[in-house]
Symmetry: C2
Subunit: 402 residues, 2 copies
């Protein structure tokens, strides 16, 4: 098999951990696989460099930040390659540019445009282990770019897609995707398999193991992703793959919790045509990611509007809302809410999944403020004090520990 592996900052955070990663790679190579490993900077390095830059400028130029920040991954890749070579495993490190990763020129958040796999293929043919500095590429103008948050994951997935690898294993400090956060529900169970769409919902809902961008790319390029741990490499991780590859589709795969939500209530909004449109357009223009929206039926030409925004956007939202002060009787902001979600591809073909969720909440006397559903997800806004209780109740009602 051709395996693309990715090791994040924590996995290569010290020299001892880099040696540990070398040992994982050696074992995989010994099993007869070809290996391309993508590495992040040693944890802390990138932040150190950002701190250095902030000594000189509040807002350094993106093009210079990319030159600066791309250095950390190169250090890790060279060290890992040195470790492997020393133990008789022929290895070579590649910068993003050398690995053929061509991006657009949106510095600090560049998008991969294509990957020239020629060099990679030559090195694989020579039976070399390839170590690629993650998070970086080169623009068509020949300038170093970086890919933004989760960039090393993207590097790995994109290479796996371009070179048609059999699997792309993302190593972090957790050993897979769980039915819910085990710190909340100790009975949470590691999933063997999960579909891209479920993973996307879980990722966007706060599961931090994999980022939305790389799961989306894996889905698009049809890359089999595995989430596993570099600290317990003997434990099989979770395979994220297309729905067709999952034989037994569980009704529900997981419960996600997102506490970074604010519920905005707009009371007695003038129910003139287009008022909702202009509110949400204004919010969108301010780059605020409005999530769940509920509009109650108008009474006396007035309507109530409820929606949620990420906690970080509170101030900007208040600024935007000033324009609508005359169109509304009252606006309040409730930070003491959270979003709990039930995710599962099985919902598509089964009825009663939502009803089960609502009755589980009712049984615990938890009041649901807002509900939104999609084909494979039910999200509910509830009071934050019930966050953990609701997760455990939902985990239980769907028998996720079995």
């Amino acid at each position: 098999m051709l395996k693309v592996l990715k090791f994040g900052g924590t996995s290569v955070g010290t020299l001892e951990r880099i040696q540990n990663v070398a040992n994982i790679i050696k074992k995989i190579k010994d099993e007869g696989h070809d290996v391309i490993a993508v590495v992040s900077a040693m944890s802390g390095e990138t932040n150190k460099l950002i701190e250095y830059a902030s000594h000189f400028a509040k807002k350094p130029k993106d093009i210079e930040l990319d030159m600066l920040l791309s250095s950390g991954e190169r250090v890790t890749s060279a060290l890992l390659s040195i470790a492997l070579n020393e133990q008789g495993y022929e290895s070579i490190s590649y910068s993003g540019r050398e690995a053929g990763i061509v991006t657009n020129d949106e510095h600090t958040k560049a998008r991969i445009e294509h990957i020239n796999t020629d060099k990679l293929k030559v090195s694989l043919k020579k039976n070399k282990i390839i170590i690629v500095a993650g998070f970086q590429g080169v623009s068509s103008e020949g300038r170093i770019t970086t890919l933004g948050r989760g960039g090393s994951d993207l590097t790995a997935v994109a290479i796996a897609g371009a070179i048609k690898a059999d699997v792309c294993e993302i190593y972090t400090d957790v050993d897979g995707i769980y039915t819910t956060d085990p710190r909340i529900e100790p009975k949470a169970r590691k999933l063997d398999k999960i579909s891209y769409d479920e993973m996307l919902e879980l990722a966007s809902l706060g599961a931090k193991v994999l980022q939305t961008r790389s799961v989306e790319m894996a889905k698009k390029l049809n890359v089999n992703l595995v989430s596993r741990s570099s600290f317990t490499p003997e434990v099989e991780g979770t395979l994220i793959t297309k729905e067709e590859n999952i034989m037994e589709k569980p009704l529900v795969s997981g419960i996600a919790l997102d506490k970074n939500q604010i519920r905005v209530g707009m009371y007695k909004v003038k129910d003139t045509p287009g008022i909702a449109a202009s509110i949400f357009t204004a919010l969108a223009n301010a780059n605020i990611n409005v999530d769940m929206i509920v509009q109650t039926v108008a009474v006396d030409g007035k309507t109530d509007l409820d929606f949620t925004i990420p906690t970080a956007d509170l101030e900007i939202c208040q600024e935007v809302m000033k324009v609508f002060e005359n169109d509304v009787e009252n606006i309040d902001y409730n930070e003491d809410v959270c979003k709990v979600s039930v995710v599962g591809v099985g919902m598509k073909s089964h009825t009663g999944v939502a009803a089960k969720a609502f009755s589980a909440m009712a049984k615990e006397n938890i009041n649901i403020r807002i509900i939104s559903t999609s084909e494979i997800k039910i999200s509910m806004i509830i009071d934050e004090k019930y966050a953990e209780l609701s997760v455990r109740a939902l985990h239980d009602v769907y028998n996720l520990d079995k």
Copy 2:
């Protein structure tokens, strides 16, 4: 004027010092000059990376060391560019590759083959200050290379030569070339100008400000070099230039001292044809840099052979000498010697310079063990205990403090 500046590791050793370098560059730009600045890694960074590598391997592959070690200069170049941009001076950082520096593929000690100045010229035309990561280039196979010791100086000189800069200023922590080491002779005087050849002699004799390789390249490419300090940028440095540019040629320019010398005495060597040749061939094959050689006239078919080697080569030399044990009555190694040298282009056209040196030594009762002379240099091996005394005596006899 187009000025190429080079700032070494000490000059960019902290964030404050990088800011100081930015201030120096701004001043030069304000005076109306175009600027290309070459920077080293922050002092300590390269050693840290080498230490990291030695954690994994005693002898890491050169090609991986180059990937590893080239990262430090990139960090400095980005930070300096960020500092300049912030203060309204348009600036761009370039890696060695981006600056068009093409080398051969002798990793960790690559030689610059040519410089493609297209990108540099475009940026200069846009009136940008260019910051180049020193010490590195790219091989024709597209792989990062480094240039070995003094590599950033080489980068600066090579760019200055390729782009026909008016001057190449090398900033260190000393403000120029002195008639001798001021720690030995407080009356030592900073030279305004010195020829390439004199500088080469002084450099090879232990003056550590400029390295032989970069002075040689400056001579070859006819680059006007200036040695000056980033800590006292207001002080004019020393211009190193071709002899024709120096109007008043002093008889003697400086006195150099090298304590890292061992005198090897071979007594009663069989005076057979070719014996000296085979001894020095063996030493050369062991990469030992034999410096001064004296052979005394043969008596009874025997001869005495005296020569000096660098202290670091003692053990290898002793190993090599084992082969000749039967050809010689006795070999001894004297570490308590030093080499004191008088350097000056004026010697070529004046007589009596050497006689003056010898009588100065005689006056102090210093016994000269070995003498060697070139067109512009007189070197003497003497007992190490007289090292400082002899330097001061020579400095005095040639009136170098005037």
